[in-house]
């Protein structure tokens, strides 16, 4: 068993190269995330920041052409997506998928069952699960009604994102990857989603928050900010880096890279 103590690396990305359809997207990314930390990955459109989050969760259409990823010391890239999820990785999708006919309740029950079984915990009874789901639902102020409906079907953009955060709270991940969760959210939804993240955040888990805008960082304070441009991290720093970016724009760093 891995001891999850603060300052031990939960994720180590080492010189990661990733392609999709022969186009190289990530060109040697290095990133270390310790338990208890929140890392923001910022960057312009097309810089590869969503790719990074998706590769870590195991999206199949990407090809890893070089490098290594260790998650809790394990070779992450050799693990099936469901195994990564069961081991505590959670990806909040930029575009959550609609599952017509698959009811949210049944889907989440199956998901929680699979994860608990993997961890050697007992499967929750319907009543226990309902109670848990109720708690998590309230975190993101989601309607009871939505849990009875098909997953994400007919949900508004904001409801879909809140559903992602609710699922995150429910599955209690060790490493949560948030892929542009803030995009397309109005200010109220952004607040709800951010508060959801802050409630889940603890010294037993870690977050990688992919975002284009600084805005969400007003609500979720990151420990580190990394700027990804054209497939590699060109600058890392603290919270203040995000503010500097807000001020100067990505062009400022792009120019520096060119030099």
């Amino acid at each position: 068993m891995t001891q999850e103590i603060k300052n031990s690396p939960v994720l180590e990305v080492i010189d990661l190269h990733v392609s999709i359809e022969d186009k190289e997207i990530l060109k040697g990314v290095n990133l270390t995330v310790n338990i208890g930390e929140v890392h923001a990955i910022m960057g312009p459109n097309g810089s590869g920041k969503s790719t990074l989050a998706n590769v870590l969760a195991g999206r199949p259409e990407y090809t890893v052409t070089g490098g290594q990823v260790l998650y809790k010391g394990m070779d992450l890239l050799s693990m099936l997506p469901e195994l990564r999820a069961r081991e505590g990785i959670f990806l909040a999708f930029q575009y959550p998928v609609e599952l017509p006919g698959v009811r949210t309740w049944q889907f989440l029950k199956a998901s929680v069952d699979a994860i608990r079984q993997h961890r050697g915990e007992k499967v929750l009874s319907v009543r226990e699960f309902d109670k848990l789901l109720d708690e998590k639902r309230e975190i993101v102020e989601m309607d009871t009604d939505l849990v009875k409906r098909s997953v994400n079907e007919g949900f508004s953009g904001g409801e879909k994102k809140r559903n992602e955060i609710m699922q995150m709270a429910l599955l209690d991940p060790t490493l949560a990857l948030l892929d542009e969760t803030d995009s397309g959210l109005d200010i109220d939804a952004l607040r709800i989603v951010s508060e959801g993240v802050n409630k889940v955040r603890s010294d037993k888990n870690a977050f990688v928050l992919v975002t284009h805008y600084q805005r969400i960082l007003n609500y979720i304070t990151p420990d580190y900010v990394h700027v990804l441009v054209d497939g590699s991290i060109v600058r890392s720093g603290g919270r203040e880096l995000a503010l500097e970016l807000e001020d100067k724009g990505y062009e400022w760093l792009r120019d520096q890279v060119a030099v």
Binding site: P81, A110, A114, S150, L171
Partner: protein, 444 residues
């Protein structure tokens, strides 16, 4: 044996003895209707895909024509327990049981008054005027095929339902057609008449159920007449034997502001076809036709649907879903006509198929013919597998491929099943469909 018999020899022999025995007791108008249907059948024979016969393009009924099928002259001995073990059944329904096309009164309930439910044989014997008024009067019978003629030629039994003006039937009427084919391969020709008077409301369940895995042929027709403001919920289940043939049709005449809702469930049959026609001949009428077919093995199931918008402000929704496995084949032909003057028609049709096996095949042909202006119409058909994004989403939540696939197939079917309003029927269908879905893994 010498092959001197013509293809339809058995039908000829049966027709003669049928006409001599039962037919002679029927009223003259009926006898002459049957006689002309018989001549029509002799002209038409069974449909073929040749001669550009579009309605039968993808369904070869050769196996029905070639099968040796004797007219079922009496019901096989089956117990009610046997029936209940296989068929949907709820004591709160008004159940009418038919075995091999023959009404079995001891297993059936009856009703009179504002809602009358009688067997067709009884109604004919009673000289019920409703039968003479409505039998064979449903729309689009001129272009009828040989199967329709054959049913009319052998008209004898079935059901007559009458919902009086303004009446809401307090329980669903369940017409249960059970076939056994145990003694010999037989054919039955059940005929149903449903007359819904103005502003009435009713629920009709028609189940076609095979008790054993034998060869038999069900050739069924349902004629429905809906006066203005009438509402009908019509469920139809095909759960026949795997070796059976089933050719059914429903003809619906809709007057103004009538609401026809149909849900068709097709699970088991060897070669099955359901032909549904709604003639929307009244302003403000609407229909909502849903269907679910799940085919496996070497099954062949054909849904042939025509919706005819004749008057302004009518609405139609056609939504069928299919799951295909094994070497099975499904056909979906859905055609919407918007006739001149049928302005403000609002029509949508869609057929979605989940094809789980490379050896399964679906021919989906939605079509629209619009002869009026100012209408909103849309149609579409899809056939394929689940997309990779969907499965990745589920796997990223800890579900393995098999669990994800199962939830998706289950969900695909459940979208139609959950629309069933009757609790007893919905539970039966959930069990029937969802428990028989294949264990399967989507792979990419």
């Amino acid at each position: 044996m010498t092959q001197t018999l013509t293809k339809y020899q058995q039908y000829e022999t049966d027709y003669k003895s049928f006409d001599d025995s039962i037919g002679s007791g029927q009223p003259e108008w009926l006898r002459s209707m049957r006689l002309s249907a018989w001549s029509r059948f002799q002209e038409l024979g069974f449909p073929t895909a040749r001669r550009g016969n579009e309605p039968w393009k993808y369904t070869n009924v050769g196996p029905i024509a070639d099968a040796s099928l004797a007219l079922a002259t009496k019901p096989a001995q089956v117990t009610l327990d046997q029936i209940k073990a296989t068929a949907p059944w709820d004591d709160s329904w008004l159940n009418m049981v038919f075995v091999d096309g023959h009404y079995v009164s001891e297993y059936s309930g009856s009703a009179s008054g504002n809602v009358t439910v009688t067997s067709l044989a009884q109604a004919i014997a009673n000289g019920d005027e409703l039968v003479e008024q409505h039998l064979g009067q449903a729309p689009q019978f001129e272009e009828a095929d040989g199967f329709v003629s054959l049913n009319t030629a052998f008209v004898r039994d079935g059901a007559v339902l009458h919902i009086k003006q303004g009446v809401t039937a307090d329980k669903p009427v369940h017409l249960l057609f059970v076939s056994s084919g145990a003694d010999e391969a037989t054919v039955s020709h059940p005929r149903v008449l449903l007359v819904c008077e103005a502003n009435s409301k009713a629920t009709l369940i028609e189940s076609f159920v095979g008790l054993d895995e034998n060869v038999y042929f069900t050739n069924a027709i349902t004629e429905i007449s809906m006066a203005s403001g009438a509402e009908l919920q019509h469920y139809r289940l095909m759960q026949e034997s795997e070796k059976s043939f089933h050719v059914g049709s429903a003809r619906v005449q809709q007057e103004s502001d009538s609401v026809y809702r149909s849900k068709v469930f097709e699970r088991k049959v060897g070669l099955g076809r359901f032909d549904l026609y709604t003639n929307m001949d009244g302003e403000g009428s609407s229909c909502d036709l849903k269907g679910l077919y799940y085919t496996s093995g070497s099954q062949h199931v054909d849904n042939y649907i025509n919706i005819n918008h004749q008057k302004p402000h009518s609405t139609s929704r056609l939504y069928y879903k299919g799951i295909l496995d094994g070497k099975s084949r499904a056909v979906f032909g859905g055609t919407v006509y918007v006739q001149p003057g049928a302005i403000k028609t609002d029509s949508r049709q869609e057929d979605k198929n989940l094809v789980l096996s490379p050896d399964a095949e679906v021919d989906s042909k939605p079509a629209l013919f619009i002869y009026a202006d100012d209408v909103v119409c849309g149609h579409g058909a899809t056939a394929g597998n689940i997309d990779q994004d969907t499965v990745f989403y589920m796997r990223s939540r800890g579900l393995d491929l098999e669990a994800a696939s199962r939830q998706l197939i289950y969900g695909f079917a459940d979208e139609i099943i959950e629309a069933v309003e009757d609790d007893g029927l919905r539970q039966y269908l959930e069990k029937l469909f969802l428990e028989s879905l294949p264990s399967y893994k989507f792979e990419f």
